[in-house]
């Protein structure tokens, strides 16, 4: 427990230190700014606008970018700075190292999700929205941070440019391909979070069907897929850390 707490705290310091935090805070505030601008003087219903903004670009672009940057650094920075040997030459199970790193990455990313969802909720309330958007958006965002956090903690360990790979994944796979082939929606990470948000939204806020493909948009489905992705990624990370040859 001591090793877990020490590693978790140190990883948060590592991820949230330096100039990175300002860049990520800025990225997390962009959706709020966009929402504020599009609602000014608009005659459209604010519920449909918040739904559109949430779907694109909030949950399909900004949240993944934040998660990818932080999760890629969780083990990637240790590898780059040659501190990975400091971590793995310890009497700590590899599964604990992998889980701690993924959890710390998801926690750090969720801080920015909290900023982003709070900003949208404030604008929504100011323009007369009468539904509850804060908790559903935050819940979906945290799910996104958890899944991208686990997957890109793994990728940060095995590839040098995990952020670039992540951006290619988001733009090429999750946006271009999945939108055109509905059956691929199950292999999209941000849609797991969108499912969660949609399941918690009130009827007036429900998201457009087109993005979800074959997904059933239930909380259970979202949690199940999140569990599979997170557990699978952590297990793979632990196996790679056990081999240690890339340390």
């Amino acid at each position: 427990m001591t090793a877990f707490a020490a590693m978790y705290t140190n990883t948060l310091r590592q991820l949230l230190g330096g100039r990175r935090i300002f860049g990520l805070a800025l990225i997390s505030l962009i959706p709020t700014f966009i929402f504020f601008m599009v609602t000014r003087g608009s005659t459209r219903g604010v519920d449909s606008m918040v739904g559109e903004l949430f779907q694109a670009p909030y949950i399909s672009l900004f949240m993944p970018i934040i998660a990818i940057m932080l999760a890629g650094a969780a083990l990637g920075d240790e590898r780059r700075d040659q501190t990975l040997s400091f971590l793995v030459l310890r009497p700590v199970p590899r599964l604990v190292i992998a889980a701690t790193k993924s959890l710390a990455a998801a926690t750090a990313a969720s801080i920015f999700a909290l900023i982003a969802s709070s900003g949208i909720a404030v604008v929504y309330a100011n323009v007369g929205g009468d539904g509850q958007v804060f908790f559903p958006i935050l819940a979906g965002s945290v799910v996104v941070m958890a899944v991208y956090g686990a997957v890109f903690t793994l990728l940060g360990l095995v590839i040098t440019r995990s952020t670039l790979v992540g951006l290619a994944f988001v733009f090429l796979w999750e946006s271009a391909l999945v939108y055109n082939f509905a059956g691929l929606a199950k292999l999209s990470l941000w849609r797991i979070g969108a499912e969660m948000t949609d399941s918690l939204f009130e009827a007036s806020l429900k998201l457009d069907d087109s993005a979800f493909g074959v997904l059933d948009r239930t909380m259970g489905g979202s949690l199940t897929r999140m569990g599979i992705v997170v557990v699978g990624s952590i297990a793979l990370t632990a196996i790679l850390l056990r081999r240690r040859d890339n340390v």
Binding site: T2, G17, D81, F86, L89, P91, R243, D245
Partner: protein, 315 residues
């Protein structure tokens, strides 16, 4: 029984290496090395690129051997993580967190190792490397030598039975070097197994009486430093002399028996000697006796690498 007589092995070993090899594609980094390490300091000596770091990475479990076996305190580090509570590595590369203070770094190391991370234990580890004065400064602001000492403190806080140090004196000034060497001696006296790699024979000589010498991934020599020195004393050293009349000068030196071979050319001669000190003493006498002036005197082949290459060929 024969293994006990081989200077590459010790009685009551804590670290055992058997027929260890590592290759990366066509390149052989370590080739069929068998040796053992016990309490006290053992120097792992060899020129840069000899395979020392690869060997240490295999011993610590950071790298899988292509062939052979490793045992540290009776366990294989690659399959038994628990051994890491009893061993520590101070790597050659920086391997520090620049945003942590030295005190935080040592405490983090203790917590990861499951060791005592109390303020007192951390302070003691820093005190042993004389780093208390910089305990609350960020490691990112440290000089190379200070970072080395912070890393050593991080390893010491767990009080490991086996301490492996990869070029620990790199970047340290003479005072820091003397203090670290003294610390390693203290730890050796306390019964720790310390393996120190270095490419500098004089440095290893100050730390340890026992040396494992590696060249081109092969075991070049093993045993105490005196034996290595003795082996080196039989190596012919090459010397270049240039003068107006090298033939006369070389004839004198051959008669004196201080050179074993001479190869003349237009402007000088290449000599071979096994006693550089005697040759050095004879040169002024030769100049006086023959009246021949020397315009150039240069000794070759005295690098550790060339000496060890010679030893490898001789095995």
């Amino acid at each position: 029984m024969s293994a006990e007589l081989d200077p590459a092995f010790v009685n009551d070993p804590t670290v055992e290496v058997a027929q260890l090899s590592k290759w990366f594609g066509q390149k052989v980094a370590v080739s069929d090395i068998s040796c053992s390490f016990g309490q006290g300091i053992t120097g792992l000596l060899g020129p840069n690129g000899a395979g020392k770091t690869t060997m240490l990475r295999m011993i610590t479990g950071l790298m899988a051997p292509s062939d052979g076996t490793i045992s540290v305190l009776g366990s294989d580090p690659r399959s038994d993580n628990s051994v890491y509570s009893r061993m520590a590595l101070v790597p050659e590369d920086d391997a520090v967190y620049p945003y942590l203070t030295a005190r935080e770094f040592v405490a983090y190391s203790a917590k990861l190792s499951g060791a005592d991370a109390s303020k007192v234990a951390v302070a003691q580890a820093l005190e042993r490397t004389s780093m208390m004065y910089a305990a609350d400064r960020k490691i990112g602001e440290f000089s190379k030598g200070m970072r080395q000492r912070a890393k050593v403190s991080g390893a010491l806080v767990g009080n490991p039975e086996v301490l492996i140090l990869d070029e620990p004196l790199n970047g340290t000034d003479p005072v820091q070097r003397a203090a670290l060497i003294s610390l390693f001696h203290e730890m050796a006296d306390e019964g720790h197994t310390i393996i120190v790699s270095s490419h500098v024979l004089a440095e290893v000589e100050r730390m340890s009486n026992r040396v494992i010498a590696v060249v081109d991934g092969r075991l070049a020599a093993a045993g105490d430093v005196a034996a290595i020195r003795a082996a080196m004393s039989h190596i012919p050293l090459r010397v270049r002399i240039e003068s107006e009349n090298p033939r006369v000068l070389c004839a004198y030196l051959l008669r004196e028996g201080v050179v074993q071979a001479v190869e003349l050319d237009d402007v000088g001669a290449n000599l071979q000697t096994i006693d550089m000190a005697a040759l050095g003493q004879s040169i002024p006498q030769a100049v006086v006796a023959t009246g021949v002036q020397i315009s150039r005197f240069e000794a070759f082949d005295q690098s550790l690498e060339s000496v060890f290459r010679y030893l490898v060929r001789g095995r």
